[in-house]
Each structure stands twice: as structure tokens, then as C-alpha cells.
């Protein structure tokens, strides 16, 4: 049995040599990080968990291709963020297929009015995040919450560093507007 303190490389080597069950150590080691990403990207608990599971399955399938150029943590984060974006796109597509634009707008309105006056800061930030477009949200989550550098963020999302900066500026501006709207409403 492998020691949970074994390095990622040791664990991956043994998994690739057939000790598939050791992958549970990798899941235990990184599930909190994946959860942090998924819950911030996809608000719904069940969907976030589904994306989390898919992240680890995707990692397992691509272990042979992983070349240790980046840390495993960064590699997993990249998978999680991309799967979250894919999920959000498919949810949006499904929603557009079944609901009229007006209904969608009403859903946002009802969400806004259901906000209690004594809202926690955390909830406020969550709502402001959910108001962003998925790609902008991913930039904010990676750069501002998870603390990755602009370079790392651009590499994870496959976009230019300049694009990261411009998306971040726009997203921060929009979040401030949303937060102002809520805090003014509370007063």
C-alpha cells in the first residue's frame, strides 16, 4: 500500500504500472482545490460535483500524457476550469433551447429580489461572480481568488496575457457595479 505522503510522481508512476487504486490518493489530495474551482465556476452543487468527478476521470485518462512540465495542481486546475467552461456552455445552450430570453431575464430578476438584506459578503461575491460571463469568471477565479499569475492564468485558459488583463479589468468593473447595486438595495 502506498504512503499518502508519496510524491505525485511516485504515485503516478505506480498508477501507470497498474496500481490503479492509488489514484484515490491523488483524488483525496486535490479534491479541495478542484472543489474550490468548480463551486466558484458552477454554482449548483450537483453540477459542480459532476464536473469535479469528470475532472479526475479526465486526469486519469490523460496520466500517460502528463509530462511534469507544470505541477500536477496546475494541470488539474486547467482541466477543472476547462470542463467547467464546457459545462456552462452546454447549460446555456440547453437553457436557450427551452426558455425564451424573457424568462431567462425574469429568472435573474427573481434571484435579485430573493437576496436577503443581511447578505454575507461571501454571498454577494458569489452573486457578482455568477453575473459574469463564464470566461471572465474563470479569469477572476484563477487570478484573483486562486492567486495564479497573469502568465499562469493565460496558459491555463489558452489566451494571451493581454486578453487576461483586459478581461480581468472589465470583470472587476462589472463586479463592482453589481455589488454596488446590491449594497445600495440593502441600504
Amino acid at each position: 500500500m502506498a504512503n499518502p505522503n508519496h510524491s505525485d510522481k511516485e504515485l503516478i508512476d505506480r498508477i501507470l504500472n497498474g496500481e490503479q487504486e492509488l489514484f484515490a490518493h491523488i483524488v483525496n489530495r486535490y479534491q479541495d482545490r478542484v472543489a474550490a474551482i468548480c463551486f466558484k465556476m458552477v454554482k449548483d452543487k450537483n453540477t459542480a460535483e459532476e464536473v469535479g468527478q469528470e475532472t479526475f476521470i479526465r486526469l486519469f485518462k490523460s496520466l500517460e500524457q502528463y509530462n511534469f512540465n507544470s505541477t500536477l495542481s496546475t494541470y488539474i486546475t486547467r482541466i477543472a476550469i476547462n470542463l467547467s467552461l464546457n459545462k456552462l456552455v452546454s447549460i446555456k445552450r440547453r437553457r436557450n433551447r427551452f426558455y425564451e430570453q424573457e424568462d431567462h431575464h425574469n429568472a435573474f430578476e427573481s434571484q435579485e429580489t430573493s437576496v436577503s438584506k443581511k447578505m454575507e459578503i461571501n454571498e454577494l461575491v458569489q452573486i457578482a461572480l455568477q453575473h459574469l460571463k463564464p470566461e471572465s469568471r474563470s479569469v477572476v477565479v484563477l487570478r484573483m481568488i486562486e492567486g495564479y499569475s497573469v502568465k499562469e492564468t493565460s496558459s491555463m485558459l489558452g489566451i494571451a496575457e493581454g486578453t487576461v488583463m483586459s478581461k480581468l479589468n472589465r470583470a472587476m468593473k462589472k463586479m463592482k457595479e453589481t455589488l454596488n447595486k446590491y449594497t445600495l438595495k440593502d441600504d
Binding site: V27, Q31, Q53, N180
Partner: protein, 101 residues
């Protein structure tokens, strides 16, 4: 005044977690995936052998057919009589008929 950056940094401390049986769920899916992939591979191996055998037989038949040693007659069990021989025997019978008449 809203300090958004501070609020966002604070989000890192506030993190939600997956359900208790998350790891079990992932491992169950991975085990199922392994079995499924093994089934697909063995199914394809089985099919590949069949396809390869059919191709081999097809090649042999083509070779014989191109060589002229195989004909529709031989396949139907009439290989003893070629078209020429049959037509010749028909002529012979016709000649006999003429002689008899």
C-alpha cells in the same frame, strides 16, 4: 467603498467541499471505465481477427480468379465441362439429329 480585491482574496479561505463519498464515486467510475475499455478492446480484437480472416480468404479467391483457375462453373460444380465443351457437345448432338433425320 467596496474593496473588491480584498473580498475576492478572502474567497480562497471560504471554500466548499464535495460530498463525503466523492473519492469513492470517482474510483467506481474509473473501475467501470477500465472494464468498459477492456470489453471494447476485446470486442474489437475479436472482430479484427474475423475481418482479417475474411480479407485473407478474399485475397486467395481473387488470386485464383485472376489466374483463370477459378470460374463460375467450377464454383457451381460444373468445372468438368467448360463453355466450349458444352457448345461442342451441343453441336455433336445437332449433327446426330441431322444424320438420323
Amino acid at each position: 467603498m467596496i474593496d473588491l480585491e480584498k473580498m475576492l482574496h478572502a474567497q480562497k479561505q471560504h471554500s466548499e467541499v464535495f460530498s463525503e463519498n466523492f473519492t469513492e464515486g470517482v474510483m467506481a467510475k474509473i473501475r467501470a471505465l477500465g472494464n468498459q475499455e477492456f470489453r471494447i478492446i476485446s470486442l474489437w480484437q475479436h472482430r479484427v481477427w474475423k475481418v482479417a480472416a475474411a480479407c485473407f480468404v478474399g485475397c486467395l479467391i481473387s488470386l485464383y480468379a485472376l489466374d483463370g483457375t477459378l470460374s463460375v462453373d467450377s464454383v457451381l460444380g460444373l468445372s468438368e465441362y467448360s463453355d466450349i465443351e458444352i457448345s461442342q457437345s451441343y453441336n455433336t448432338y445437332s449433327a446426330w439429329d441431322l444424320e438420323l433425320n
